[in-house]
Amino acid sequence: MRSRQIREVALREIVTRGRSNGYRVVTGLMLVLAVVAPIVMAYLPDPTDDLRDVTVGVEAGAPPAFVEQLELLSEGVVDLMVFDLSDEDAAGIEARLRDGRIDVALRPPRRLIWDDTEDSTVANLITAALQQAEAIDRADELGLDVGDLARVFAPIELDDEFVDESSNTEGVRSGVALFGLFIAFLLPQVFGQFTMMSVVEEKSTRIVEVLLSQIRPVTLLAGKILGLSALAIVQLTVIVVGLIASLMTTKIAEVPASVWQFVPLMALSILGGLAIYMTLFALLGSLISRQEDQAQVMLPVFAPLMIGYFVGQTAVFGNAETVLAKVLTWFPLTAPMLLPVRVARSAIGPIEVAVSLGLLALGSYLLFRLAGRLYEFTLLRTGSRVGWGEMFRLSLGRVDD
C-alpha cells in the first residue's frame, strides 16, 4: 500500500509540476543553452586563425614556381603577402625593410635580407619553397613529369597515439567537468526549490491535513522526492541529448571514448546530490507556512552549494587534488559537485570514489530518516516558522506539538 501511495504522490508531482510554466521554461532555456552553445562556439572566430602577417619581398630572378610554392607552404602557418621588388633598387629595399613594410627580401638565387633579426619560421618556409620551385625547374629541364614528381615526393601524414591520453584530452575533460559541476550545482537548486514550493503549498493550503489522514508523512516525502527526481532526470536527459546532438552536428569537439566511461559515475553523483538536497529543501519547507518565508530558511542550503561550486571551479581550472577538494569530496553536501569534477579530471582513485559515493548514499539516507521524523511534527505546524532550536530539539526526539 505504501509503495502505491508513493507512486501516486510521485505521479501527481510529475503531472502538476511537469506542466507548470516554471519547469517548462527552465527545461526549455537549458535545452536552448545546450544546443546553441556549441553552435555559437563553432561560428566564433578560431583564435588559431589569427595568424601573424608576414610580407616577403621577392627580387627579380626567383624561380617561376617560387611564389606559388611559398603560398602553399605558408597556409595555416603565417598570413602571407608577397611583394614584387623587381623594380626596386637596393636603397628602396633597405628602406622598406627598415620601416617594416616588408619582413624579408629574397635576392635570388640564395640571399635573404632581414632588417635586424632573422625569423626562422619564415626563413624555413622560403627555403622549402625555393627548394621545391627549383626542383620543379630541374624536373622540367630533365623532361620529367612534374605530376609524377609531386606524387613521388607527396607528403605523408602520421597518426598520433598516446600511452597517456589524459593530457591530450585535457580540454575535453575540463569541458565535461565544468558541465558536470554546473549541472550538479544548478539541478539541486531548481528541483530543491520545486520541492520546497510543493511542501509549502500543501502546508499553506492546509491540504496536508487531508493528506496525512490517509498517508504517512514519510511516504508523502518519499513520493514527492521521487516524482520531482523523475522530472529532474527527464530535464537532464533532454539537456545532455541536446548537447550531444549539437556537438555531433557542429563537430566542434570530438569526445574521446575514455571520457564516456566516467559519465555514468558523474550521473550517479549528480542524482545523489539531487536526492540529498531535495530532502533538505523539503525539510526546510516544512518549517514555514508561507511561500514568502522561503528565503528565511534557504540560506543554510546555499552555503554548501556555493562552497562546493567555487571549490569545484578551482578544481576544473587548476589543481583538482588539493586537500580542500579531497575533504569536500567526502562531505555529502559538497560531494555531488566535487566528485564529477575530480572524476572528469582523473584526479581521484576508485577507492576514494567508492568512499565518496558511499558517504553520499549514507548521508542521503540519514537525512531522509531525520526529515521523515521531523516532517511528522513540522508539517502540521502553522503560523510562525519553526525555529532552528526547536528543530534541533525535535530531531533529538523532544516533542511538544
Binding site: 500500500m1 502505491r4 501511495q5 501516486e8 504522490v9 501527481r12 502538476t16 507548470s20 503549498e201 500543501e202 493550503t205 492546509r206 491540504i207 496536508v208 491535513e209 487531508v210 493528506l211 496525512l212 489522514s213 490517509q214 498517508i215 504517512r216 502540521l380 516533542v399 511538544d400 506539538d401
Partner: protein, 297 residues
Amino acid sequence: MTAALEVRDLRKAYGDVQALDGVDLVVEPGRLVGFLGSNGAGKTTTMRSIIGLTSVDSGSVHWHNRPITFEDRRLIGYMPQERGLYARMKVHEHIAYFGRLAGLDADIADSRAHEWAERVNLGDRKDDMIQELSTGNQQRVQLAVALVHEPELLILDEPFAGLDPVAVSMLSSVMSEQVERGTSVVFSSHQLDLVQDLTEDVTIIAKGRTLASGKVSELRRQAPYRILTVRWAGDAPDWVPYRADPLAAPEGESRFRVDADIDPSGLVGAAGRAGNLAAVSFEPPGLEEIFIELVSQ
C-alpha cells in the same frame, strides 16, 4: 452495540493552555453525532486527535473496541475546518487522486470521482481547475474528497460554515444518505437549529471537557426547566408567572423559563386570567438553550 468510535478522557496541553481536559465522545455505527462547543472548546483538537494529526497527553481513541491504528484511520473520511485543495488540479482529478491514495483502484477512483462530482452538483465543472471555483464550490469538492473512498466514519469539522442555503441542503442530504448506508458521521457546527433538525445524538464540550452527551430529546427532557411561550390575542400584558424568568420574545408574545416540575395547567389558567390567549406552549428547552445553559456554567 459496540461503538464504532469511542474517545475517552482525552487530555492535551499546549504549554500552559489545557486544550483538552477530559473529552469523551462515543459514536455508534450508522449514527449521526453533532459535536458541539464554543470557539476554542477543543472540537478541532479532538477531531485531529482522532485522525492522528495531533498527539494527546493521555486518554484513548478506540475503533470498534480496540485502540485505533493508522490502517483504521484510513477508513475515516475527514473534512477539516480549514479547507485545503490543490489549486492547479482539475475537480475530478482531485477527487480521484484522494480515492487512489485511500486505496481505490484507478478506474474505480475515476468513476467515483465523476459520480461524486455529479452528486455535489459540480458535474458541469468537473474539468475545471480548483482555482476557478468559488469558495462554496471548493467546499463541495472537499466533501467529495472526504467521501470518495466510502469511509466507515465521516468527520466533518464545521462543514456548513460559509455555505449558501442550497449547499446546506445538499450537504444535509448527503450526510443523511451516508447514515442510511451505515456510515457513522461526526460533525461540528455552530448552527444549532440545523444540528437539531439533522441529528438525534449530540456531544457538548466546553473548555476541553465533555459536558453532556446523548440524544437531543433526552437532554431536552432532562433539562431542569421548561419554556413557556404565550401568544396573545392583542398586546402582551405585563404578566410574569410565579417563579418564572422572562425571556426575550417577539411582539405579541411572552416567553418564560419555568421549573420543569411546575404544573403547566396552572400556568395556562394564570395566563388566561392575565390576558386574551391565542396559543400556549410548554416545552423543554431547545438544543440552543441547553447548549448556552451548559457552556455558560
